[in-house]
């Protein structure tokens, strides 16, 4: 019986959703084909039934036919040209089996570039994610490289060690040495080639233009030898140039020579005035000389018999160059043995004082090391998240590429060859990301340098070398390749083992199902966990930083101008001269219009300099050697507490009557008063410096002030203040409370100084606000960077979740169609998709919370104000991340509800 072939085709072919006319045409053509086959079979002698069967067998899968026809009809020329299969036909293209040659690599690169250009969307997102991740890592690596890995450019730097006094009672193993102890160590040790001593030396430079205050160091003549440095110009110090009675000489640093002397090649032999004493310039150091910290010039000590015998003044630092082959531990044992002998020999001065030797490099970087590694870890996380993101994208694309891979394998390419090609693709992506990342890093590092204040460059060793240098480029290259392999390997392995039979079958599924979904889900969970850890870390640091800013420092810093002065001892040798200078200056400054009150103090709060001394209490036995009572002490003028807004709790402030002829007085802080007189009134009690009674008379406590924070990261310590008139330091900081903008008064105050002494420079002119900002700069810096990295991480995580959810929704179109067809509501579908995504988010958040608790503890070491168990931050940040995850799920979920059940069921 003859079929109505048109009717047959119309019944079996699902609607093509084309124009009615075109659809009729296609049905007619297909029917004609079947009919022709039927008639051929009959002509060949087949029975009607057989002929019918043969014709019907020509189309076994009507769904497939409909899909293929729809695609052909909707396709455009460009789309066809760009279908990835289009390339596979090029006959000369198929590589040799498994052979890795430059040629195959070159082909892979060409091919990869074409594939990447064909998916510009995926490629651009991947490159941006990678550029952010790699760029952040390059920038932080550059910082760590400059500050931690190679801050000191001395030959054989590993042989240089720092030597400290170990004060066991204090738990302070980085205490300054005395000159006499140093000389003993130097004479008796067996392990050092050179052992050198130095001390901070603040100098006024005169005799050449404007007076200027410089940062100098007094050093032993062998300090350049200990560092292994020779002057680039002139000579080093002669071995006995630090002995008494020698002509005064000085070596300039490269920076000072350039800045102050214009790089004058004939500078050697010229004379300059340092603190009023003529010094001959004998040498200029090369640019890489950057030790001791912030040095602008170095000059030899003058070891008078009195100085050499000193075992009381602990204000000297030592470094030494070890003999070749000697380890730091050997030097430690050697010097410790000498220190034990000195303890027995001089029990009054040396009891409880040992020696500690540290490698200089480790000692120099210890302040930045922890912060650097936390930053490294943070950017490492960012990069891991970026990798997870890109891996997600590639995994999703891997399924699209199954057919391509299957064809290549069928054509004879082996799996290794395929993996090689796919990895080439991801490494190329990573390298492009790396190039952009380097640009980002260069920009970031210069922005950072522009934001840092000048003294950071003077005092943070190595920061002058902070650039994205060749090491950073090597690092980035290695990192990029590694990154490419890291995010590429899983998708490549996945894509390279399709089931050939299954995939090549027309209409075969284009992905390997469950395993890939689990991988994607694991990546999303990891991304969310890592992001949460970073975000909580950043949140805690920001909050700690805010606590730091909010903490009452114990003074009122608004409208206070500060500037430093240092009267040269050569010009002001006598105490009354110094006292008179400052008294006259304060009288004049106080009467300036706009100045409410003015005072001087030796060290500013938060100024990062302190001075401490042990003391005795009247009526109490002296504590045994090694357990002295220690307190910071400060020297100030009468108006100081009023000017700084420091609260006087009890008694009185200093006044004009507390002069050199009056009985000695002191004011103590609350901590000292409570510690030593917990149940009594401290007022009226007497204390004195530990030392000879004739030179250290009793001082009566006349007032108690509220505690003032002198640095941010350490607990409050006992403090006592002395009137400047009774202890006239030469180096003081002037503080002036003003009625208007403080800096406007700078010229007027400077003029008052020059009116008294026209050679006297002022320096470090800052408002108290600036002093405070500077004290928090490292915190601000760390919190800011951490916050930036966390923001990048959040963005990347959001993109990652969105990408994976979109992909899963598109994979599940069929299933969603079935559900909708079976009566599921749009709401059900929405809930289902979001639930799936949020399950991953909640899981990731759980893991992230555990990790964040560990991170919080590590960060506590960086910032004392940080509260580890800050439930609010943990909860708030988790909610933020979950909200972002929800938004990232919602869009694909909403799209899922728009699935047309009929369309979804037909295709696929």
């Amino acid at each position: 019986m003859a079929q109505d072939w048109q009717n047959y085709v119309r019944r079996h072919l699902p609607p093509l959703r084309l124009g009615a006319e075109r659809e009729i045409e296609i049905v007619a053509e297909l029917a004609e084909h079947l009919e022709a086959a039927y008639e051929d079979a009959l002509a060949e002698g087949a029975s009607e039934e057989q002929a019918n069967a043969r014709a019907l067998a020509l189309v076994s899968d009507w769904q497939l036919l409909e899909c293929e026809l729809s695609r052909a009809e909707h396709s455009t020329f460009a789309a066809w040209r760009n279908s990835s299969d289009g390339d596979l036909i090029a006959p000369s293209h198929e590589p040799k089996k498994g052979a890795f040659t430059m040629d195959s690599l070159f082909k892979d690169i060409q091919y990869s570039l074409r594939v990447l250009l064909k998916n510009p969307g995926v490629s651009v997102i991947a490159v941006i994610a990678l550029a952010l991740g790699i760029g952040a890592n390059t920038a932080v690596f550059s910082i760590v490289n400059a500050l931690v890995l190679r801050p000191l450019a001395f030959p054989e730097v590993e042989r240089i060690a720092a030597v400290y006094e170990d004060v066991r009672s204090d738990g302070n193993d980085r205490h300054e040495l005395t000159v006499a102890n140093y000389l003993d160590l130097r004479a008796q040790n067996q392990t050092f080639e050179h052992l050198a001593l130095y001390r901070w030396w603040s100098v006024n430079l005169t005799g050449t233009g404007e007076p200027e205050r410089l940062q100098g160091y007094l050093v032993t003549a062998n300090l350049p030898d200990a560092l292994g440095m020779k002057p680039a110009l002139g000579r080093s110090f002669l071995p006995d140039e630090d002995q008494a009675g020698k002509p005064k000489s000085v070596i300039l640093t490269h920076g000072l020579w350039q800045r102050r002397f214009g790089g004058d090649a004939n500078i050697i032999g010229q004379t300059i005035g340092l603190n009023g004493v003529a010094h001959t310039i004998v040498g200029v150091m090369p640019p890489e000389f950057n030790y001791p910290r912030g040095a602008e010039l170095i000059a030899p000590f003058e070891f008078t018999p009195q100085l050499s015998a000193g075992r009381g003044s602990h204000s000297y630092l030592a470094i030494g160059r070890l003999k070749p082959g000697v380890a730091v531990e050997q030097a430690q044992n050697d010097l410790a043995a000498i220190a034990r002998r000195l303890e027995q020999q001089y029990p009054n001065e040396n009891a409880g004082r040992g020696v500690k030797v540290y490698p200089l490099l480790a000692d120099t970087v210890r302040l930045y090391k922890a912060a650097s590694f936390v930053l490294m870890a943070a950017v490492g996380f960012v990069l891991l998240i970026a990798c997870a993101n890109v891996a997600n994208l590639l995994l999703a694309r891997a399924s699209v590429r199954f057919k391509e891979v299957a064809i290549r394998m069928a054509m004879g390419a082996n799996r290794r060859r395929i993996v090689q090609q796919l990895l080439t693709e991801s490494v190329i992506l990573a390298l492009i990301g790396g190039v952009l990342g380097v640009l980002l890093a260069i920009w970031g590092v210069s922005a950072l340098k522009a934001a840092l204040p000048a003294e950071v460059f003077q005092f943070v060793p190595g920061i002058n070398n902070l650039v994205v240098n060749r090491q950073a480029l090597w690092f980035t290259l290695a990192l990029s390749v590694l990154t490419g392999l890291l995010f590429g390997i899983t998708p490549a392995l996945q894509a390279s083992k399709p089931d050939l039979n299954e995939t090549l079958k027309e209409g075969g599924k284009t992905s390997a199902g469950g395993k890939r979904h689990r991988l994607l889900s694991a990546l999303v969970v990891a991304e969310i966990a890592l992001s949460l850890m970073l975000l909580i870390g950043a949140g805690l640091m920001m909050k700690g930083f805010l606590n730091l800013l909010k903490a009452n420092p114990g003074f009122q810093g608004e409208n206070v101008l500060t500037m430093s002065l240092m009267l040269p001892r050569a010009k002001y040798p006598e105490a009354p001269q110094r006292a008179n200078f400052y008294q006259e200056l304060l009288r004049n400054v106080s009467s300036l219009p706009g100045v409410e009150s003015a005072a001087v103090v030796n060290y500013l709060p938060l100024g990062m300099s302190n001075s401490s001394n042990s003391f005795l209490i009247e009526g109490r036995p002296a504590p045994p050697p090694g357990q002295e009572w220690n307190g910071r002490y400060r020297v100030c003028s009468p108006q100081y507490f009023e000017t700084m807004g420091i609260t006087l709790l009890k008694g009185r402030a200093f006044n004009e009557q507390d002069n050199a002829d009056a009985p000695r007085v002191a004011i103590v802080n609350e901590t000292l008063a409570k510690h030593f007189w917990p149940a009594e009134d401290a007022i009226g009690k007497r204390i004195r410096f530990d030392g000879e009674p004739e030179r250290n008379p009793w001082m009566q406590i006349v007032g108690v002030i509220a505690d003032v924070h002198h640095d941010l990261n350490s607990p409050m310590r006992p403090e006592y203040y002395l009137p400047h008139a009774q202890d006239p330091w030469n180096s003081m900081v002037l503080v002036a409370r003003t009625s208007a903008e403080p800096t406007a008064l700078t010229p007027a105050i400077r003029n008052e100084v020059l009116a008294i002494d026209r050679d006297q420079p002022v320096f470090d002119i800052r408002t108290m606000q600036q002093v405070r900002e500077r004290a928090t700069i490292m915190h601000r810096f760390s919190a800011g960077l951490f916050g930036l990295f966390a923001a990048i991480a959040l963005l990347l995580a959001a993109v990652g979740i969105y990408g994976v959810m979109s992909y899963q929704v598109s994979r599940r179109t069929h299933e969603i169609g079935v559900r909708l067809a079976l009566g599921a509501s749009r709401g059900n579908v929405l809930t289902m998709v979001i639930r799936r995504g949020m399950l991953l988010a909640v899981f990731g958040t759980g893991i992230g919370l555990i990790g964040a608790a560990g991170i919080a503890k590590a960060l506590k070491a960086l910032m004392a104000e940080l509260v580890v168990a800050d439930v609010f931050t943990f909860v708030a940040v988790s909610l933020l991340l979950l909200a972002v995850a929800f938004a990232a799920c919602f869009i694909p979920a909403f799209r899922a509800t728009k699935v047309d059940p009929m369309a979804a069921l037909r295709c696929e």
Binding site: E32, A410, E506
Partner: protein, 113 residues
């Protein structure tokens, strides 16, 4: 290998085969499929699901042109003929494949005749 060849032909060389078959005179779809099968001794087989989508694509590209023709005593059929653009593409593809086979032959001596 047959499967791989099948795949490849469908994707690339089939276009050339089809164009070569309709070069001399217009042919309908069934005839094209049959001729490919016969002339390749059954090595190359065409499914309906591959043939017509490919014909429609080639038509869209302007390489071939289909036209309904009703000849006396026959059913109404759609005949495809080569366009000018198709002629150019065919010539190019012939050169490419010629070079390719020549290369293969030089290397692997595959010519059977």
């Amino acid at each position: 290998m047959v499967r791989a060849l099948d795949k490849e032909l469908k994707k690339g060389s089939t276009e050339m085969l089809i164009m070569a078959l309709v070069e001399d005179r217009p042919r309908h779809g069934y005839e094209i499929a049959k001729l490919i099968g016969e002339r390749s001794d059954g090595v190359l087989q065409f499914h309906v699901a591959s043939l017509y989508p490919l014909l429609y694509r080639m038509e869209k590209r302007g390489w071939i042109k289909g036209q309904w023709v009703e000849k006396a005593g026959q059913r109404r059929r759609r005949y495809y003929k080569l366009t000018a653009a198709g002629q150019k593409v065919l010539a190019e593809q012939r050169t490419t494949w010629n070079d390719f086979f020549a290369a293969l032959d030089r290397v692997a001596r595959i010519t059977t005749s």
